[in-house]
Subunit: 107 residues, 2 copies
DNA sequence: ATATTAGTTCATACATTTGTGAACTATTAA
DNA sequence: TTAATAGTTCACAAATGTATGAACTAATAT
């Protein structure tokens, strides 16, 4: 494998952590708070095992960090860069939707 | 489905477009150029059918656009926001790697 | 000690994504 | 008209990712 291919793989791997609706919702939730597992679950809904696995993946990929305090695990975002990247991609989505809307209006 | 879930799904869907090494390489390549299919293929290598499918996906997700001129299809990035989001996520990766390196040095 | 709370881990089934090669289309050149 | 270039599309196999429920662990409360 070429040297540069390895970095693209690692880079894509971090980006993959953004590629799931539940994980996007978690980033949205945590963008300016630290929240414990149960609080996140209460908002997102679904099975705790599923949420736990997604949070674990995000933590492994380095976009979340955990602080264990007593019984509770508090999750937070490692860097504002993640929030900003996420926000930019949301803008890309919104911009796309606006374009489609304009095309529709032209018909 | 709750209203807000739909937007997370669409948002995640756009983010997914960043989650593949070949697609990251393409964004890297196109960050300040427009390039035609064959030129991209020459750099990335692999099968043309594979590249074509990845470029098509990126175009559908609205992160690339195509300009057909004669025989050639010129691809470019729709918005600098994509490039910036991608750059931020690369920084997140680099920051992670630095943290791991520091931990290693402590041993 | 026992129960409760707060999660994690695991196995498995299911769904989605990806890579491959062959067949196809469209444009230009000879 | 025939061939070459520049891709796209398709079908299928293989790999990856995701959801689910049950079993597990660790900390606190009774």
């Amino acid at each position: 494998m070429h040297e540069n291919k390895k970095i693209f793989e690692l880079h894509a791997d971090v980006c993959k952590a953004l590629g799931h609706p539940l994980r996007i919702e978690v980033i949205d939730l945590l963008q300016n708070n630290e929240l414990c597992f149960t609080d996140i679950l209460e908002v997102t809904g679904g099975l705790k095992s599923n949420l736990s696995q997604h949070l674990s993946l995000m933590t492994k990929k380095g976009i979340l960090k955990v602080r264990r305090e007593g019984q509770c695990n508090y999750f937070s975002i490692t860097s504002p860069k993640v929030v900003e990247a996420c926000r930019l991609m949301r803008e890309v989505l919104i911009d796309n939707m606006k374009k489609h809307q304009k095309l529709l209006k032209m018909i």
